[in-house]
Assembly symmetry: C2
């Protein structure tokens, strides 16, 4: 049969994965690989997703409080800033009205249960923000906190108890869980009807398949689409590039954009020329989790940029010693794009609004309240 040239291992060397390469190569298929009894090869090898930002010049300091920005010539900015906070506030106001209407009509309110394991500062902050957001719209919340070293069974019990409680409409297990726990196993236990994060594979399958409807759309992907729709961006027929393919953001965002009839390409750590591919896109959603990965020269002039990244970057001026930076080099992108979400203040607040929206939807479904 045909012999195809293998791709150069240069990329791998660059990634410091030389040793890994050889262990992988030895398991790549020969002319007639054994098929029977081996489902893994046909599924593709599991590999770590390591991004190597490849631009020649270093990115400018991506801190909008820096002197760099204050000296920045405003005339160079072409992009409209998509104000995620403002849009999220509008939605939260509608949700608050709906919660209030539900309370008056049937004497019930939606309730979100949050399970937090361990003491990660970022997780604590996220959970605190979500609970505060619930309070502000009248959604009840209940939290179970477990220590880092608790047994997996304790987390499973907490999930089960919320599953069985008819007054709970949404269950959120804050990720990441401690290393010794089986995340998949725990998430699989969350009742489908209360999976407001939408991470269950049945939900993802129904999101992927034409003609099917998931019970919940994952919050961040839903936030990205909501931001586009509210900015009057036409998605149908547009070229969209999603950077990153995580189960919770990149993958479902690509599926959702495709449901809106965009032509979607997914760029990941194994993509050889991410900047070229991204430069073709009318809509770019970046969810790689790499600060300043997407440079100005990655963008087509006039592109719409949704920046999902919230990467902690050292910042001595900040109260916490770090500030959050997007995947997109904002100072460069703002001169090329036609619209862009800031970090913070873009996708983040909208994601929380979508969580509230999913929780409300779930309660409405549970009480058959329309």
């Amino acid at each position: 049969m045909m012999m195809m040239q293998r791709s150069s291992p240069q990329l791998w060397r660059k990634m410091g994965l030389k040793a890994f390469l050889f262990s992988t190569c030895s398991s790549t298929p020969s002319l007639s690989p054994p098929l029977v009894n081996k489902s893994l090869p046909i599924l593709g090898p599991e590999l770590p997703e390591v991004w190597i930002p490849n631009s020649s010049s270093p990115p400018p300091t991506n801190n909008r409080r820096s002197p760099f920005i204050f000296n920045h010539d405003a005339h160079e900015q072409t992009a409209v800033v998509i104000d995620g906070k403002l849009m999220a506030d509008e939605i939260r106001s509608v949700i608050a009205d709906e919660v209030s209407r539900m309370k008056s009509a049937i004497g019930k309110v939606p309730r979100l249960a949050v399970i937090l394991v361990g003491e990660r500062k970022d997780s604590q902050t996220y959970v605190r923000n979500k609970i505060k957001a619930c309070q502000e719209v009248g959604i009840m919340s209940v939290m179970t906190e477990l220590p880092e070293d608790c047994a997996e069974s304790e987390v499973l019990n907490a999930v089960s108890s919320f599953n069985e409680n008819p007054a709970v409409h949404g269950i959120l297990v804050q990720l990441p869980l401690p290393q010794h726990m089986d995340e998949e196993k725990i998430l699989n236990v969350v009742s489908l009807e209360k999976d407001v994060d939408g991470f269950h594979p049945l939900n993802i399958g129904n999101l992927a398949m034409t003609g099917r409807e998931p019970l919940f759309i994952p919050c961040t992907p839903k936030a990205c689409i909501e931001l586009l729709l509210r900015s009057n961006v036409e998605i149908m027929g547009k070229k969209a590039v999603v950077i990153g393919r995580s189960n919770i953001v990149g993958l479902p965002t690509s599926l959702l954009l495709q449901r809106h009839h965009a032509t979607v390409s997914v760029v990941h750590a194994f993509t050889k020329n991410p900047e070229e591919i991204t430069r073709e896109a009318d809509i770019v959603v970046s969810a790689a989790g790499v600060a300043n990965l997407v440079r100005g020269n990655w963008l087509k002039p006039g592109a719409i940029v949704i920046d999902v990244g919230t990467n902690p970057v050292k910042d001595p001026d900040s109260e916490y010693g770090y500030s959050l930076t997007g995947d997109v080099c904002y100072e460069e992108a703002v001169k090329v794009a036609s619209a862009i979400t800031p970090v913070p203040g873009g996708v983040g607040p909208m994601t929380i609004a979508m969580l509230l929206s999913n929780t409300l939807d779930s309660a409405k479904r549970a009480y058959r309240f329309t």
Copy 2:
């Protein structure tokens, strides 16, 4: 907020969907669309998938028995023909050995149940071929035939009865079902452990998600990857374009290619410049269901082409009055590509081998036979 220019309705007019356009436009989001209680807009509108082949010159007669082909200069052919039949035969031989080993060891053989509703000639042919293929490798098969006008409940009963039968390891409901039946409802009843077609949304979700494993990979997508692997095509890091996004072929094929770390773009009927996007691809999988859609000038020189299309085209010379033609204009593609699957004799036979493989895997799982 920002006002974005809407895309020209020309495409729509061309598609004769003018009336449809306006009904759609009126439901596109305004500045602040109502979010709460409306999950459909965020999921994107459901639209018919109508392909408009757009090439200026008509395709040559795509019948390899035509004089056109016999006059064809063999020196112009650059592509290796990927012999799906030969590769499938190799796999079937391995499966036959495995079935025989299972029978000797535990006195059991795999069994496939097929449900055929109505009298569509093509469905009858497909089913006949599958049953014949089972026989040849020693897999038992059992078929339930129901009339076109039977009640949905009869089909559901047939599925349930096979679900409960421990001697049945795979259940195949031949599609399409008659119009009056709810395909989704019926497919959802097939036991996950016997869903050898892999069409259940939980399977698709597990195929889509990194770190998860579906119980079964849908047969045609699995066949496409198997053909690539057996042809020693390196998938990782390559640009792949999947043309078509059906639940049973295009979608799962794109997910599977991504699991192999290709950079995947999905082209569909709403893609504005399918030829340009396809021309970028190292690997092209076409599953649009449109004869001769993919012309030679859609391909990058040296591309690998997997043609899933089996489109009936009138052929007075054929016994049945028609012959099967791929999505790819073979005569043109063969001069540009470095490898290509023929139709018939490419994906088709490999798909049947994958069905046998899935049925064997299912029986092994049921009997814990390794």
